[in-house]
Each structure stands twice: as C-alpha cells, then as structure tokens.
Symmetry: D3
Subunit: 218 residues, 6 copies
C-alpha cells in the first residue's frame, strides 16, 4: 500500500494499473478507493446490468470489461495490482486466475485475493494471516489473509451490527420460527435446522440433501 502514497502526487508518472475481478460489493469498494487514490482501474464483470450501475456511479473514469478468460489474461498481464473479488455466496469461488497465467504477469505485481474465505479465486491462493500476510509465486506477491475485515475491527463491528441487529431483535421478540416465517431475507440466511441443510449451495457443494427452509419452519 506504501506505493499508493504517490499515485495522486506524481503527475509525471503513469498511475498504477489496478485490475479487479468481479464488480460486486468487494469490487465496487475496491474500485472506489483505487480511483480515489488516482489509479487506472478496470473491473471485469459478467453482468451487463451491473456494469451499467458501475458506469452510472463512477462515470467513464472506471473501465469496465466483459469478463472472459481472454480478458482476464490480457488485463492481469498488465496490472500492478489484481484484486480478486469474485464470490458465489456459500459456494467455492471460481478459479479465474490459473497457475499458468502468473508467469505472464509483471514481476513484483500484487494479487489480493479477497475471495480467500471461500477458497480464493486463484489456483495459487492459500490462506495467510495478518502476522505473515504474503508469499510469492512466480514473482507475484500473494496477499490472502483470511477474514480481512478482522484487520479493521472497529469499523467491521459497526458495519456488521447495523445490518444484523434488526434480525437479532426479531428473533428475540418473536421466536426464531415466526421471525423466519415473517422475513424472507432472514429465512434465506438459514443454513442448517433440525439436522437438515437448508442452504442449497452448501448442500450441493458438500454432498448433503437440500431441504428448503419453509419445510423446516412449517
């Protein structure tokens, strides 16, 4: 991150090139900060609706590209920093960055794999810690700290609290069955109940039978 200190301050040099895989929550906020520091930022995304939203928010300052294997290869090969933010809720992250790509990347470039808590979106990603956060593969520095939000404990706590408190209150006031019956969002969050796996992606991924939440609450 030290290198970031001069992105905005050095008009005589080209800005760092940041490539972000996935335009969801992780990718959008990474883009906001990288653009804020003056980087040249490209997001690879498959949803054209999402791309329209990104353009509406950031204007043409942000580059958005339809994500294909070819686009991942071309963009990452020129990047100073690649941020992996491709998550499929509850399932293993897809391996967009293969081992074979790395030798084509710039020496000393950095891969931050935010998808590491779901297994990572690079074949070469393995979880690291805040104490020992990085390792190198083919000249590419990997930063794959598990539970990254844990590094900013205070802000994470507020953020998590704000969105979960209403659910907690509902469960406490109504009991869990009625709370889930009344609120589809809370019901969607049910993973296991009465010995049944009620979250489809988890059931599929781990080889269990899937039972819809409604059946269990009934």
């Amino acid at each position: 991150v030290a290198a970031a200190c001069c992105w905005a301050a050095c008009p005589a040099s080209l800005p760092a090139k940041v490539v972000i895989l996935g335009g969801g929550v992780v990718g959008t906020n990474a883009a906001a900060m990288a653009l804020g520091l003056g980087a040249d930022v490209t997001i690879l995304e498959k949803s054209t609706d999402r791309m329209e939203e990104l353009v509406a928010r950031f204007g043409t300052q942000l580059k958005t590209v339809y994500s294909t294997q070819g686009a991942v290869e071309d963009e990452c090969a020129e990047a100073d920093l690649v941020i992996g933010g491709v998550l499929i809720p509850g399932a293993a992250a897809p391996k967009l960055v293969t081992k074979k790509m790395l030798p084509t990347w710039k020496k000393g470039s950095v891969l931050v794999d935010v998808a590491i808590d779901q297994g990572g979106c690079a074949e070469t990603s393995k979880a690291t810690t805040h104490a020992n956060p990085t390792y190198e593969v083919d000249g590419v520095i990997h930063y794959c700290v598990a539970n990254m939000p844990g590094g900013v404990a205070r802000t994470s706590t507020y953020a998590l609290n704000n969105v979960t408190l209403p659910f907690g209150l509902a469960i406490a006031n109504k009991g869990w069955k009625k709370a889930l019956a009344d609120d589809a969002h809370l019901r969607n969050g049910l993973n296991v109940a009465g010995g049944k796996v009620t979250y489809k992606a988890v059931a599929d991924d781990l080889g269990y039978a899937y039972v819809p939440a409604d059946k269990v609450i009934g």
Copy 2:
C-alpha cells in the same frame, strides 16, 4: 469520430486510448473532449508546472506523463488516436513522431496533427484539406487539415473577435505606435515593422536579423 459514438455507451468494452502530445491550449481542450466522451486519455508534457495545472483541473482521470522520446514511443504504440498539439509559437513544430515509429502503431489508428500549420509534429505529416482530409502511412490514418478552426467558422470567428477586438480598438483610437507602446501583449505580436523582423523566433528560423519591437516603435 464516428467511433466516438459508443465510447461512453459500451461499458462492456475498453474505452479508446487517446494520446495527446503537448498539454497546451490544443492538448488541454482535446483532453477535455476526449475525457468527456469517456476515452482513456494520456497527455505527454515537459513542463511539470503545466502537469500540476492539468491534474488540478481534470483530477486523476487524466493521465499525465513526462514527455521523453521513450514515452512518446511507448504511449503512441498503444493508442487508437494520437493528437499532435506541440507548438512553439512562431517556429517550426518539433518532429516528435518519426517515420520509424509508425510501423509499431496499431493498424487503423489515427493521427490528428493540429500542429500542421507550423509544419506538423510528425515527419510524415503534410497539409490536407477539408475536402480531402486524410491519407494513410504504414496503416496509420493521418488527418492534417490546414487551418482546422476554419471548419467551425462561426465559433472561430466569435472566439477570434473577442480576443482581438480590444487590440483593434486601441490601434484605431491611439494610432499603432502608441497602442504598441502602451501594451506589451500587443507589442509582442509585432512581427515586421519598417522592414525589420521584430519577432525573434521568426527571425531565427528564417535567417533574418532580429530587431526588438521597442527599437522600431521608439
């Protein structure tokens, strides 16, 4: 210019890359419009003060690079559109783009040489007309129309009028000698008087003796 119609409209494709040689009046306005259309714009410039001004105006959306021969080669080789706006008032434009560079450019890329009225800033530039504006060299389309502002006659007339009218009024009211004596800007504009060349760059370039304007007005 037709291709511009989709720069802003196609979030799924990378924007066109525009490289501008020189960050003066021509380059700044070209940058304003290219950025407005959503292009990826880089200005090559030698003055760090000028680069600071460009960053203050356009923010980090505009890339600015210190102009060296290497930077011209690297940037132009990746450009879809190169705009030459390097002018040395009164003197021949420097030939920043050499004949040897062109084969390294993208096929079908475009060079707009706004410096053509001073001889052009590419070795391969030669003046063309609005009727027959382009020609091709090594796969690079050259647009080198002499007197480009003539293509937007109404706006050019207003622009020119606004800045020259005060000088015309001063000359009419005071006579030329007093008008020039009173106003350094007008005096700086004197090229020839009493058979003497009073503009240094012109005198040097054409091999005449240079006589400062003060001497002639005296």
Copy 3:
C-alpha cells in the same frame, strides 16, 4: 459533429443546445456524450422515476423536463441539435416531431432520429444510408441513417456478443424449448414460433393474432 470540436474549447461563446427526446438507453448515452463535450443538454421524458435516475447519475448539469407537446415545441425551437430516442419496443415510434414544428426551428439545426429503425419519431424522417446520410426539410438537416450501430462495427459486435452469447450457449446446450422455458428473458424475445406471433406489440401492430410464448413452448 465538426462543430462539437469547439464546444468545450470556447469559453467566450455559449455552448450548443442539445435537446433529447426520451431518456432511455439512447437518450442517456447521447446525454453522456453531449455533456462530456460541454453542450447545454435537456432531456424530455415522461417517467418521473426515470428522471430521478437521470438526476442521480448526471446531477443538475443535465436538464430534465416532463415531456408534453408544448415542451417538445418550446425546447426544439431553441435547439442546435435534436436527438430522437423515443422507442416503444417492437412497435412504431410515436411521431413527437410534427411537420408543422420544423419552420419554428433554427435554420441549420440538426435532427438525428435514432428511432428510424422503428419508423422514426419525426413525421419528416425517412431512412437514409451511411453513404448519403442527410437531407434537409424546412432548413433542418435530418440525419436518419438506418442501423446506426452498423457505423461502429467493431464496438457493436462486442456489445452484441456479450449480451447474446449466454443465450446462444443455453440454446445450444439445452435445445430451444428448454432454454426458453428456463429463462423468462429469452422467452420474452420469442417473436414467432410454429406459425404463431408470440410478441404482442408486433401482433397488434401488424394485425395478427397474439399467442403467448408459453403456449407455444408447452
């Protein structure tokens, strides 16, 4: 478009006035580019929700007006450029610009009718070609090239590919009936099947009986 070259560059003159009929995809992207070039841009639109989205994206720099016949008359009479982008998917475009309006427009103003592929949104519009793109009616230059995206072939191809490829893959992998049964968006795109017209606007417009897509797939 030549005139655009000085919009941003001439602070001493008023910007060109661009009026856009319809704030959908065509109108929004036309607005983005016209604003980017420094024009004074007004969109006429009937949906207040859409107007809110436009204000959220462009801020107060873009003028939005509720579209009535009176507003169309007033705004177009002062415009340098009118862009017609009012499309009703599958049906003929409404004739917002009548023949009687044209004499009130500025001489030499330009009408670009992007709705021409659906019949145009001006009574005086008729399809032209890239080879011979314009004609004049009552001093207003009409640009009504059919299939305008064909003029920027490379970008159009990428744009179209990105959004249609997933459908093509689904049809190839599942067969057309199952692909349409699984995906409401694809099903909505079905126009004719088994001799039945399955797209309501087309059926209504051409006088055929309408059969919902579900019935045909069944």
Copy 4:
C-alpha cells in the same frame, strides 16, 4: 431565495436561469452557490483569461460568455435572477443594466445588485436596507441592500479578520511607514495620507490630485 428550495428537487421542471454580470470574487461565489442549487448559470465576463479560470474550476457546467452590450441584453431578458457583480475597485461601477432594458425582462425576475456599495451596476439601482430590502421597477424586483456582508455578521467578521490581522500586526510592530514600505499590498491600500489622495481611482473619480503612496511614505 425561497424558490431555490426546489431547484434541485424538481427534475420535471426546467431549472431557474441565473445570469451573473462579472466573473470576479462576487460572481464566482454566486456561481458556485447557484450551480450548487442546480440552476442554469451564465457568467458574462470581458477577460478571456478569467473565463479560462472559471472553466477550469467549474467545467462546462458553467456557461461563460464574452460580455458585450448585446450579450447583456440577450441573457438578462431570459433570466429569472440577475446578479450584478461588476466592480472597479475604488471607482463607480459601470451601468451595464440600463433603464431601457428592464421592460424586456421577465415579469417577477429579480436583480441582486452586489455592486450597490459602489453605486450599483444598474441605472435603476438605489441602496436599500435589510429591514426593507426590495423595490420593483418595470416588474423587476430590485434587491440592493447596502453592505450585504453585514447580513452574515459572524462569517464576515472571521473572513475579514483573517485577511486583515497580519496587516494590523505589521503596523503595530513596525509603525505605519515601515509597514507600508515593506509590503506593496499594504501600500496599495493607502487611500489618503498627509492630506494627499494616494489611490488613483479615487483621486480621478473625485477630482483630486493623485500622489503615489511612495512619495508620501518616503
């Protein structure tokens, strides 16, 4: 000012049109606020350098026009609000708005003459008070409160203090003669000393002999 409350909030209506005479300190800050509220703002200015600075700061969102009598007439006739901010330091403000223009203005439009402390820039301006701030001429509401900054006493005090305190300290520490001798800006502010008028515009305007400040300090 009440009308301003809906400028930004009503995407269905055209914004108010604000015309500002003069692009100096008054005009620039008036423009900043009017643009901030979503108005359609035009500044009339004679200095092309100043117009460039305004464009660099506000972008193309602000319209700038070269100020001629014709431009003043045309722009004011369409305005909802005209702000007069044309000041010649120490001298009477020029009468850009003549009595004959007013009948061509919109009924109910407003003229705020910030130049009133120097006599006003409209022929029909005469000083009013915060208690009784407005009067009407030919359907145009005139707001010509003398010493307008007095209406925002706290902010004005801070603003004035910050810029004048260093001068006060210098005079207190060095004595007035040495303080003025050391600082050209302070010296420029000397109006009268030893019975001589040392400010040229005041001397010329009131018919006194002008004595440069240096002579008096000597």
Copy 5:
C-alpha cells in the same frame, strides 16, 4: 437562509454543519442543496440499502450514519441546522428529537421540521405559517411551516401536475373503478370509499376498521 450566502465563499472558515434525519425524498434533496452550498452534511438513515444509494449518488462528500438514538443525539448536538425529513406515509412521524435533547444543541441552531404535516419529528414542533414561520425553544429556532411546498407555488404546481395528470386522465376515460382496478399505484392511493377506510396506516392510526381497496372496487 441568509447565512448560506457565505458557505461556499469563505474558505477561511469551517462550513456550516447540516444534519438530516431520514434519507428519503426530503432528505436527499435537502442534502443535494446543502452540499451544493458547501455545507458539511450528514444524513441519519436506518436502511443500509438506501445508504448505498446515497453514497452512489453523492460519493463520499455526503456522510451517512446508521440512525440510532445515540447517533441522533451526538450529531444534532454539533449541528448548525437540523432538517427533519422522517416520514411514515399516512402515519404520524416518529419523534426522533426529544425535548430533553434541545439544551445540548448549539445556541441559535435551527431545526426545520419538514415532517410537520404529519405531526413533526420533534416533540417541540408545532405547525407555523409563512407569515410567522419561526419560534424558539431552548435557544433552538424552530421552522415548522405547514405545507412548505406552498411557498414555491409555481414549481410545486408543475411537479404535482406531472405526476397526477396521468391518473386524472385514466379516471376520466375509464371511470374510477376500472382505473383503480387496472393500476395498482392508483389503487394504493385510495383512502376512503363507500364509507370504508381502505388505507391501512390511516385506519390503524385513527382506530377504524381497515378494508383492502380490492374489496371495495369489487
């Protein structure tokens, strides 16, 4: 509002601090204008989705905070201006600002309670008029004019007309029963019909039996 005149114009002083309760239509437009005038603006809001939309529109220039009683207390105590825009359609506004909070606020700060038409969102709010708009409680100036849009009659009329005209036309053309049957939005607007209260919040609030609109339309 006079104080606003120097927000943008005085770089040497801190901007006014504006706190907005609720990020809906009222709060968003209040924020747009306060930001436009250069104020330091914070919105308190309970919906994280809405907060995301606000950040997407205004960027990080707008501060958004999750609304808790503690946050209301902390933010309002430092504000120069508090705007109450918390409305629950058809029901009494919640009393976010209690009588006990006021003594902790800055002396001379201002509370504008836009929710006054639903009873106000401060315990100390009571409706005032344009003729006599303010009163003071514990040093806090309350502005609680009922029907604030009535103060900008022309703009309000256009705004209201644009959104209600299509409903009026539908009722006139189809009769009220069919018009309501065809359009869920219009049906949602039905308050009373055939002696039954068909709007739930009103029925609950006033102690009447609630009958869904569908039942009445039959």
Copy 6:
C-alpha cells in the same frame, strides 16, 4: 493505513477525520488521497490565496480553515489522523503541535510528521526508520520516518529525475557558472559556493554570513 480500507465502504459509519497542517505540496497531495478514500478532510493554512486555490481544485468537499493556534488545537483534538506538512524551505519547521496538546487528542489517533526532515512540526517528533517507524506519546502514535519518499523508490526516482535532468544538462553543457547565471531557478538552488553560504535561510539558521548567489557567480 489498514483502517483506510473501510472508509469508502462503510456508509453506516462516520468517515475518519483527517487534519492536515499546511496546504502546500505535501498537504495538497495528502488531501487528494484522503478525500479519495472518503475521509473528512480539513486543511489548516495561513495563505488565503492558497485556500482559494485549494477550493478551486477540490470544491467544497475539502474544508479549509485559517490556521491559528486555536484552530490547530480544536481541529487536532477531534482528528483520527493528523498530517504535518508545514515546511519553510531550508529552515527548521515551526512547532505547531506542542507537547501540551497531545493529551487532548483521541487515544490511538495518528500523527504523520512529513516535516521530520526539517526537524518536524511537533515538539514530540523525532526521526524514525522504515524498519521501526512508529512510537507512542500520550496515546498518540507518531510516524516520523525520515526521508519518506525513500519508501517509494521507483516513483520518487522518476519524479526527481524529471525535474532535475534539465538542470543537469544545462550544467554539463554550459559549465556551472553560466548555467546558474542564465537560470534564476537553478541559481536559487545554490547553497554554498567558494566557501560562502548563498542560501539565506540556511545562513540565518546556522549563524553564517549570507552572500547572495550573484556575488559568487559574478
């Protein structure tokens, strides 16, 4: 810096408050980056001209305050991060932050003293190294690494090269005396020549006699 990762991403929490002492090169670029990350940024500055430039560049998003001892005390006491960027070229930095202020600051707040190479602008600052960069005084973490640009070696090298190369070429081509005689900027950079101190601030600070550069070159 880790905390920065959530500034832009957490609309539900207030942004970090960054206070910057001095609006020169260090302060301006620190502000650009902190604003880019979504922080609430205030610059304390004594030059009103400089404040105008900062407002013109950053708009009202940046807070600027006239720097007095009181303002430094008030602002720093509420800051999460204080950046000291007050440099007097060639002389010791003024001690704006006194030892007595620190206990009033937030526990865990951070002071980055970029002025450390000139002695630092806090009484408690002492130079540290990249290996061991921080220490704590009264709960305030001090980051006072000497030669901070050395941490971003590649960018610093380019930046330095671009501005110094023209001087090096001039000295090589003309000899140092003529190069300095021809160029006031280069001459201003002369510190010591022929045993004389030719830089006034250094001479004053270290107690040597000052000899103007012209005298030595002559």
